[in-house]
Amino acid sequence: MAVLQSTLCYMNAKEYNNAIDTYADNLFRFVVKHTRNKMLADDIVQETFAKVWEKHEDIQAEKAKSYLFTTAYHCLVDVMKKESRSGSIEGIERKGNSDTAHLFDIQKVLHEALERLPEIQKTVVLLRDYEGYHYDEIAEITNLSESQVKVYIFRARQTLKTYLKDIELVA
């Protein structure tokens, strides 16, 4: 895994390109789980990097990942607000689960359960599980308090566990 140079200097074109190689896929997965629309996720990731490039001279290279996810989250919130008003997301939602057919069954069920979580719970649990962020880092990205993050993660796990339990009972 490529690692950004941990220097105190600010992001330059090379480090920006490294960030694309390193984090674009992670961002995309994070975003597409919310949008359930790959084209929309592409747009959000692109917009995220464009915004980061605008500010790259003010961003420390070592904080690029955090800055990217924070920017992506804000873009995501804006888009979700717009799209939920127009209802375009709902038209696509929950059809594309065939894409995850290759996953293990448990993960497939979990990702189905993820769709049922409130957006904020989905966000924090994705940042936690996909990216391994600590509570304080998630709090910084999502502009929540650490205890709020903890509660949302715990509630999300309860919901996921309940969903797994229900599936197990049916099976």
Binding site: A13, I20, D42, T100, L103, F154, R157, Q158
Partner: protein, 354 residues
């Protein structure tokens, strides 16, 4: 009771009346008031009262707000918190051992523990962002900071002035301001040529004006050979040539003034009766080493005075160069003239006595 109950203030008594806070004569007075005004009476059943429900603060939130994890809080109701905490890696080895011990004692909660252990999401690595290359920026391009742009502008200006002052003879700088000494001395040469014309003629009154003009033209042609060549030859597109004027040469060696001096000496030998009309100028003439001229009409530089001493002093300080300026008016005994020295540059001029 000190306050009279009226329609304007009865509300403040009414709330106390409903809550049973009125007593004594105030209670009696208020009930008498309500009897007198039955339209103001409120039905007790329609008066809203908010009662607390049985809800309590979420136990999970309580535990999440706590700093650290206290295993004493572990109960069947709070088990989810501890199972999730284990899944999140928040429990230390001791706490995990206590949790396992609790689960052994309560076997019917083991399924919950197993399910919580499965709740960690794994990313689908087949989902990738495909437009990475479109987002990348070119690396290695030269970034020119602003200060280099300023430097480039300064260098450009310097080059502009260098080219204009060095190689472009048609530029105004070169023609007028570029070589002021050369222009000045060329004019003085012309003047001296005129004087020589008069001297060589022997009797100027016999020479006609047209002859003088002719001689002057010929002599001027001698000093400006390039003009003659241009006049006689077919016109060509001549590349402007830099006109080199070296101040040192004028003052020290091979100067026009020096040649004039030689010519004057030659003429004096041929015709000793003719008094040289142009001033005698030693190239290395300075106020200190100037020789006393035997010619009574000539004036020594030492005899000249500086009429603008404060001005030259101030100018000398400003330019940080020694400036010596002296002048003298011609009289019947001696001639006049001036002497100017700025740094290494010396200019002097003398006129004949009256």
């Amino acid at each position: 009771m000190s306050k009279l109950i009226t329609k304007d203030n009865y509300e403040e008594f009414y709330l106390d009346y409903l809550e049973g806070n009125l007593s004594g004569e105030t209670l009696l007075a208020f009930e008498a008031f309500l009897d007198m005004h039955p339209d103001l009476r409120i039905d007790d059943s329609s008066f809203p009262v908010v009662e607390a429900d049985e809800s309590t603060f979420d136990s999970l939130r309580k535990l999440a707000l706590k700093q650290g994890i206290d295993m004493n809080d572990l109960t069947a109701e709070t088990l989810d918190f501890f199972l999730i905490a284990r899944q999140e890696g928040q429990l230390n080895a001791d706490q995990e051992a206590q949790l396992n011990h609790w689960l052994e004692a309560n076997a019917h909660y083991r399924q919950d523990a197993r399910l919580f252990a499965l709740t960690t999401l794994q990313p689908d690595y087949n989902e990738v962002f495909t437009a990475k290359e479109d987002l990348k920026k070119p690396v290695g391009g030269r970034v020119i900071p602003l200060w280099t742009a300023g430097l480039a502008a300064a260098a450009g200006l310097a080059l502009f002035f260098l080219l204009n002052t060095g190689n472009n003879p048609v530029s105004p700088v070169n023609q007028s301001g570029g070589n002021p000494v050369a222009v000045e001395q060329s004019d003085s040469v012309k003047e001296r040529n005129n004087q020589l014309d008069s001297a060589n003629a022997g009797n100027p009154s016999n020479a006609s004006g047209s002859e003088k003009t002719e001689k002057r033209k010929n002599r001027e042609k001698t000093f400006y050979p390039t003009q003659i060549r241009h006049d006689n030859e077919p016109k060509k597109e001549v590349t402007p040539r830099r006109r080199v004027v070296q101040q040192r040469n004028i003052l020290q060696e091979g100067t026009i003034l020096a040649s004039l001096e030689k010519r004057n000496a030659h003429l004096s030998e041929e015709n000793k009766t003719i008094t040289p009309l142009y001033p005698y100028i030693e190239p290395s003439l300075t106020p200190k080493n100037v020789d006393v001229n035997n010619d009574m009409a000539a004036i020594s530089v030492n005899d000249m005075k500086n009429p603008i001493e404060p001005v030259t002093s101030r100018l000398s300080e400003t330019l940080n160069r020694p400036i010596d300026f002296r002048t003298a008016k011609a009289n019947k005994q001696k001639g006049g003239g001036f002497y100017l020295k700025i740094g290494k540059l010396e200019i002097s001029h003398q006129t004949a006595s009256l």
